[in-house]
């Protein structure tokens, strides 16, 4: 499926390896802080995929929003939560739940990959030629989906107010 000959394929494989290993590290790292940093690296890998897919604006947005805002927010939260608390919870749970989770996740990933591989012959193996100009995304959002944009703005305002109210909650 993936030939290691063309340079773009090599870059894709490297990007996939970085993204997946960083995602695993984010969940398995002993220290929560390292996990958050690994999560940021995984997000940067996804941004690389967006560049590959001719979506430079999404890559920029991904880095600005996820790496710039979400990961930093997570880091601050980790600092606000007591240190020994975050460390003690890093171990795997007792009993068979770890194995069950692993089986479930593996089965899901293999099943979806299998379906994708079965459908493979019907799916295009090379992207159609012709690039997607960055400006077209802005035009489509502004011209065809203006109402969702307004709803999104309201939703963000409501969510941020809610987060503020929650964080200020007195005991």
């Amino acid at each position: 499926m993936v030939q290691l000959l063309a340079p773009s394929d090599l870059v894709f494989v490297l990007l996939a390896a970085v993204t997946l290993i960083a995602a695993i590290l984010a969940l398995q790292a002993k220290e929560l802080i390292y996990g958050a940093i690994a999560l940021g690296i995984s997000f940067i890998g996804i941004a690389g995929f967006f560049v590959f897919l001719d979506a430079p604006y999404l890559a920029m947005l991904q880095i600005a929003v996820y790496v710039g805002a979400v990961v930093v927010l997570i880091l601050f939260t980790i600092m606000l939560v007591r240190r020994e608390e975050t460390e003690a919870l890093s171990e795997l749970p007792e009993g068979g739940q770890g194995a069950v989770g692993l089986w479930l996740a593996g089965l899901l990933a293999v099943a979806i990959s299998g379906v994708a591989a079965l459908a493979g012959p019907n799916l295009p193996s090379t992207p159609p030629t012709g690039d997607l100009p960055v400006s077209s995304l802005g035009l489509v959002i502004a011209a065809e989906y203006p109402v969702p944009l307004v709803i999104l703005a309201l939703l963000i305002s409501a969510a941020l107010l809610g987060a503020l109210v929650l964080a200020k909650l007195e005991k």
């Binding site: 993204t19 929560l32 999404l58 947005l61 606000l80 919870l89 293999v110 990959s113 193996s125 929650l166």
Partner: protein
């Protein structure tokens, strides 16, 4: 060039990693990590499908745009909830957050 199936497989692997985190982890912050990973897997799928299946249109990218904004919002609210849970409970172990249990 890279085929569409490769993107789907990477995305499925990310989904698997996220589901593993959701089912196994006890730390609320790590569960939030897992949710973010799953959202990213979905975003990757949208971008890949829109690139390969209807090239002049960018509707998939529009969905990813909204999805990124919604996920960032969800992270902010989730972290505020975790802070409140920690303040009330002195713990972010999701197995200890059982005050509503009858």
């Amino acid at each position: 060039m890279v085929s569409l199936v490769s993107y789907l497989i990477v995305s499925a692997a990310l989904l698997g990693i996220g589901v593993y985190g959701l089912t196994v982890k006890r730390n609320a912050i790590r569960i939030l990590f897992a949710v973010e990973i799953i959202v990213n897997a979905a975003n990757l799928n949208f971008a890949a499908f829109t690139r390969y299946l209807n090239p002049p249109q960018v509707s998939g990218q529009v969905i990813v745009f909204y999805s990124i904004a919604a996920a960032a919002m969800e992270a902010a609210v989730g972290l505020a909830l975790i802070l409140v849970a920690f303040r009330l409970n002195q713990s972010i172990d999701v197995r200890k957050l059982n005050k509503l249990k009858g």
